[in-house]
Symmetry: C2
Subunit: 222 residues, 2 copies
Amino acid sequence: MTKPKVKSKSKAQIKATAKTRPAKSTASRGEATRERILVAAIEAFAEKGYEAASTRDIAYRAETDQGLLTYHYPSKDDLWRAAADRTFGSFDKRMDELLIELDHADPKARAREFIREFVRFSAANPEFFRFMVDEGNLLDDRTKWLVDTYLKKRFITMKERGIIRAAGYEDSQAPHVFYALIGAVQLIFAVAPNCKRLTGLDPRKPKAIEAHAELVANLIVP
Amino acid sequence: MTKPKVKSKSKAQIKATAKTRPAKSTASRGEATRERILVAAIEAFAEKGYEAASTRDIAYRAETDQGLLTYHYPSKDDLWRAAADRTFGSFDKRMDELLIELDHADPKARAREFIREFVRFSAANPEFFRFMVDEGNLLDDRTKWLVDTYLKKRFITMKERGIIRAAGYEDSQAPHVFYALIGAVQLIFAVAPNCKRLTGLDPRKPKAIEAHAELVANLIVP
DNA sequence: GTCTATAATTAGATAGAC
DNA sequence: GTCTATCTAATTATAGAC
C-alpha cells in the first residue's frame, strides 16, 4: 500500500469509513476490494492507456497493493479486459434501453434524441473514447477483442434501428457516419482539460454538455 | 542496433543504399541520422503514446541505437517536443497556405473547401490526432506546451478567418464546433485498423478519404 | 558521430507469511 | 483475503571507447 513514485490522484480513505460499520463477511470484503480495483483500473487505463498505466498505481488508487491486485486479477491483460467489459457493457446497456424508450418516436426525433443522450452519456463516461482510441491503431489481440465483442454489435444496431437512414444517409455511408458521430460527440470530453485551457470552456459543466448535445444533434440530423 | 524485445515494424536497410553513393560529410550524415530518428519518433509516439513508446524502439526503427539517439536528443522529453514541433508545424504551415489560397472564395465555399482539405491532410497525417488525444486529458507540462504553442493559434485563426461564422455558428459556439470538427474529421483515420475490421472499409483508401471529406463538409456547412 | 556497456529505476509476476 | 518481499526483464540516462 506504499505510494508508487509515479503520482496519481490522492483518494479519500475508503477504509476509514468501512471501519465504523459492523464487520462484513470476508467474501463481501473481497468483493468490495475487487470492485475498487476495477474502478481504479478503468480510471487509470482511460487516463494513460494500457502500457503506461501500471498495476502498482492502480492498486494504490484502489487503496490496496499490487499483490492483492494480482490475487483478484491474475494478469494485467485480465484486468484490462474486466475494465473494458465494465465500460462497454454499461454503454451497451444504456444504448439498448434508450432505443426501447424511443421506440414510438418518429425516426427523425428518435435520431436526434438518441444523439443527445449519447452526448450526455459520453460526458459522464469519457473512458469509452480513450479505450477505443488507445486500441484503435494497432490490430493487437485487445483491439480485435474489443471490435468483435462490443463495437460490431453497436455498429450493426445503428444501421438496423434506422439511426443512419433517419439522419438522412445511405447505409453505404454508415462507416463514415459512425466514426464522424463518435468523434464529434466524444473528443471534447476526452480532452476536457485541454479544451478548458484552450477555450476557457469546461466541457464537463452541465450547460456545456447540453450545448454540445444540441450542436451535434443539429449537425447530424438538421 | 540490436532489435529490442518489443516488436515494431521492420524497416528497409536505409544504410545499404547510402553506402553506394560517395561519402558525405560527417555533418550531413549526422543530419540524416537526426532526421531518421525524428521520423521514427513521430511514428512511435503516434502509435503508442509518450509513456509506452520507448527510446530503444525508436532508435531501432531509425536503424540506429539508443546511445546515438541520446546524442541527438538528450532526453525523451526533448525528442517528444521535436516530434510534436514537426507534426504541428507542418500542419500549421498547410492550414495557413490553405487560408491564403481560399482568400478570394465566398465564405461558404471557403469553409467547405477548408474542411475538405483538412480531411485530406488528416488522412495523410493521422499522428496529429494521437498527439492531441494522448496529451489531452492530463494537464501536464507537455499538454500545456502543446495548447499554448500550437492549438491556441489554430483556434484563434478559425474564429478570425470566419470559418465558424461562415459555417453558420456564433463565435460563442466556437469551442463546440472546433472539437466536433476535429473529432468528426480525424477519428476514423486515427483508428483505421479498427474501422477496417469493424466495417470492412479501409479509410486510408483515396475513395474513402474523398467520401469522408464530402460527408463532413456537408455536416458542418450544409 | 557512432556504438557498446552499464547504472539506476520501474515494470509485471510470483512466493509465502499471516 | 491481505500484504511484504523478491525475481526477472525492460526502461531512461550516462560514461567512455573508437
